[in-house]
């Protein structure tokens, strides 16, 4: 077990800069999730830790030791691949025993560790099979078993459950988190699925186009996104973004558009009036959970829209409302809007404490001084 540090790490391929000046500290025993869409540099970052990619510039430290020039085999790191990468000619047992055999461990010790890992993953009865005889979920367990038998300094996971079906994914999220907490091994987990990051990680590092956008606990990233991109990437359904113009008055600041007037809460007003907005344009972010819907127009429901579609999801439903040209999702109790209500005019109200404001030119969140401190980094996008 060891801490892991990125010091101004760059990764360049021929034309492309895959990772740009990455600085990141991962504490000993921490479960860190590298989250981002495909091509954001998260896999390159992970592969640089494993030694499968050269580091173009900067240093990676493992347990305080610079590992840039170490071969993968000397880094004492275990990795689960997206494709599982099981050894096709070996049995499940031999797949899991392979890393131990190299370490000249006694036969009994190897057997004990393989059986213990197999027990943890409930794959004891598969030990004699070949990978080609396994289902996707079983292969994935064997791949995890192959890293569990070792006691490495860090676990690396590269989208390990991306190819499982939804039900199995949900179950594996819980199991992986349980195993990581039980072993307490430093873990870096790469995924494009924000749900995996939110549900499993101690901290999430969100990347986009090679640039680290924000690092924080799932709650921080969810409640205080550093920019509009992070705000819309984390959370499902995603945060709604409305465009408006900031207007001052006697009662305070208001964001105005033809379809709505949103009063800026006094807590936020200070930082908003300080910020230098071009043409007073501003973006307002509000999560679907922070909106409520009504058929009656009143002061509590100042946003006017039209029902576009309703998606029932068991006990809740997501209502797709068009406000001007924008698409706004509202999360409400099941039965709030009927399927037949398409094109009906509705009025939306919002939870004032849960509004987010962003500068439309830079995308950066505009926050009061109190909340700003908790955000770890605020790069421009």
């Amino acid at each position: 077990m060891a801490s892991l540090t990125f010091n101004s790490v760059w990764k360049r391929y021929d034309q492309v800069e895959a990772v740009k000046d990455l600085n990141l500290d991962i504490a000993d025993g921490e479960f860190l999730c590298l989250l981002g869409p495909s091509g954001c540099g998260k896999s390159s970052s992970l592969r640089m830790i494993a030694g499968l990619e050269f580091i173009s510039a900067g240093d990676i430290l493992l347990g305080g030791e610079r590992i840039n020039d170490l071969e993968p085999r000397n880094r004492d790191i275990a990795m689960v691949f997206e494709s599982y990468a099981l050894y096709p000619q070996k049995s499940v047992y031999e797949n899991m025993a392979n890393p131990l055999r190299l370490r000249k461990m006694s036969k009994d010790e190897i057997d004990r560790r393989v059986r213990e890992a197999a027990g943890m993953l409930e794959i004891e009865r598969l030990l004699d099979r070949r990978p080609s005889q396994l289902s996707g979920g079983q292969k994935q367990r064997v791949a995890i078993g192959r890293v569990l038998v070792r006691e490495p300094k860090a676990f690396l996971f590269d989208e390990p459950i991306a190819h499982l079906d939804a039900k199995l994914r949900a179950r594996m999220r819980g199991e992986l988190k349980h195993i990581q907490k039980r072993l307490g091994t430093t873990t870096v987990y790469v995924t494009h699925d924000q749900l995996e990051g939110m549900s499993m990680a101690d901290r999430i590092a969100i990347m986009r186009e090679g640039v680290l956008q924000q690092v924080g606990t799932p709650q921080e990233v969810f409640n205080q996104p550093s920019n509009v991109w992070v705000a819309t990437f984390v959370g499902d359904p995603p945060m709604n973004i409305l465009q408006g113009e900031l207007q001052g008055g006697d009662g305070g600041l208001t964001v105005v558009a033809p379809e709505f007037r949103i009063d800026v809460p006094t807590m936020q007003a200070g930082s908003l009036s300080e910020s230098k907005l071009a043409d007073r344009k501003i973006l307002v972010g509000v999560r679907p959970e922070a909106l409520r819907i009504s058929s009656i127009q009143d002061a509590a429901h100042p946003i006017t829209g039209r029902v576009y579609a309703v998606q029932p999801l068991g006990d809740v439903e997501v209502i797709d409302v068009r406000v001007g040209g924008d698409r706004v999702l509202v999360r409400a109790e099941l039965g709030t809007v009927a399927n037949e209500d398409v094109d009906a005019t509705v009025y939306l109200g919002y939870h004032a404490q849960k509004l987010h404001f962003f500068d439309p030119t830079t995308g950066v969140a505009i926050r009061s001084a109190a909340t700003r401190q908790t955000a770890v980094s605020q790069p421009t996008i």
């Binding site: 030694g51 499968l52 289902s135 079906d165």
Partner: protein, 313 residues
């Protein structure tokens, strides 16, 4: 957030699709389709089999017939006699024994084996390392290098023979087995690299990376995945042996007497006093038989090997 579980319902588990209930091929084989199409197809197949087997049949029977009998023509119009001549004779091994006792064929056979197997083994060994490097490496000019390797196969053998002769002469490689091995390797190696690259491409790189992360060096990781390309290695080995074994031009130009191979030796059986067809056919049989046996032994690997590289994702 729970909704993404519901919306992203994609399944990756293997599903066995039953496929179409009736396949056209089944109908032909089982005779349930058009009876005529079955007959026509069977007829063509039979013709093709006879067409390809007749040369072998004539070669083998002529080799086993006593001298003179093979070219003994029946009387005009005597079809029964002609047919009888094809099948009824007293087999003799005189041609075979004279090949080995008087004509030194044991040495030529050994030369052929050394040249073909030597070149094939060298081609497979270096072909494996080169194909691996081209398949896995990321370096500048990789595409051009690969094309250049293939392009050496585009020149006809005759075009290279003369310059190669001059080079070999200066290096003292003329009339030697190592010289022949080198000449065959010039042509076999690009071929081996070309085919083997396809096989390495078919092995996911992740598997080697997993070995490296597990604690193997890069070389060990390469050796670990070699078993996965064994069908390809077998196919390439056999094809390289075949190409070298069947060569005539190089052996005739550069082999001389001390490195004479079977095809050249067979050609040498023509003498001023006439052509001894019995001996020539016996020599042909000796030349063909080892390759035939090799083909039968390795047939399973060949088919698996040549298709695996093509269809496996």
């Amino acid at each position: 957030m729970t909704s993404s579980v519901l919306t992203q319902a994609q399944t990756d588990e293997e599903e066995v699709s039953p496929g179409p209930a009736i396949d056209m091929r089944d109908q032909v084989v089982k005779g349930q389709g058009s009876r005529w199409s079955g007959i026509v197809i069977s007829g063509f197949i039979a013709l093709y089999v006879i067409f390809t087997l007749i040369p072998f049949f004539i070669m083998l029977t002529t080799a086993l017939k006593p001298a003179g009998e093979a070219l003994n023509l029946p009387a005009t119009g005597d079809w029964g006699g002609a047919l009888k001549k094809l099948f009824v004779f007293t087999p003799t091994f005189e041609h075979f024994s004279s090949l080995f006792s008087q004509n030194n064929f044991s040495k030529y056979l050994l030369n052929s084996v050394l040249a073909a197997v030597g070149s094939a083994v060298i081609s497979v060994v270096f072909g494996t390392t080169a194909a691996y490097a081209i398949s896995r490496g990321r370096f500048r000019g990789k595409g051009d290098l690969y094309f250049w390797i293939i392009s050496t196969r585009m020149a006809p053998v005759v075009a290279v023979t003369v310059p190669l002769y001059a080079i070999f002469k200066n290096l003292g490689l003329l009339n030697t087995i190592p010289g022949l091995v080198l000449a065959y390797t010039v042509f076999n190696l690009p071929f081996a690299i070309w085919i083997l690259k396809g096989f390495f491409d078919a092995v996911p790189y992740d598997i080697e990376e997993a070995y490296m992360v597990d604690g193997h060096s890069r070389w060990q990781a390469l050796l670990k995945i070699v078993p996965l390309v064994v069908p390809g290695l077998a196919a390439v080995l056999v094809l390289c042996i075949l190409l070298a074994w069947n060569d005539y031009i190089f052996a005739a130009v550069m082999g001389g007497e001390s490195a004479k191979t079977l095809p050249v030796a067979t050609q040498g059986l023509k003498s001023a006093s006439g052509i001894d067809w019995g001996q020539i056919m016996a020599a042909g049989t000796v030349t063909v038989a080892p390759m035939l046996l090799l083909g039968i032994v390795i047939r399973k690997y060949m088919v698996q090997g040549l298709t695996m590289g093509a269809v496996k994702q």
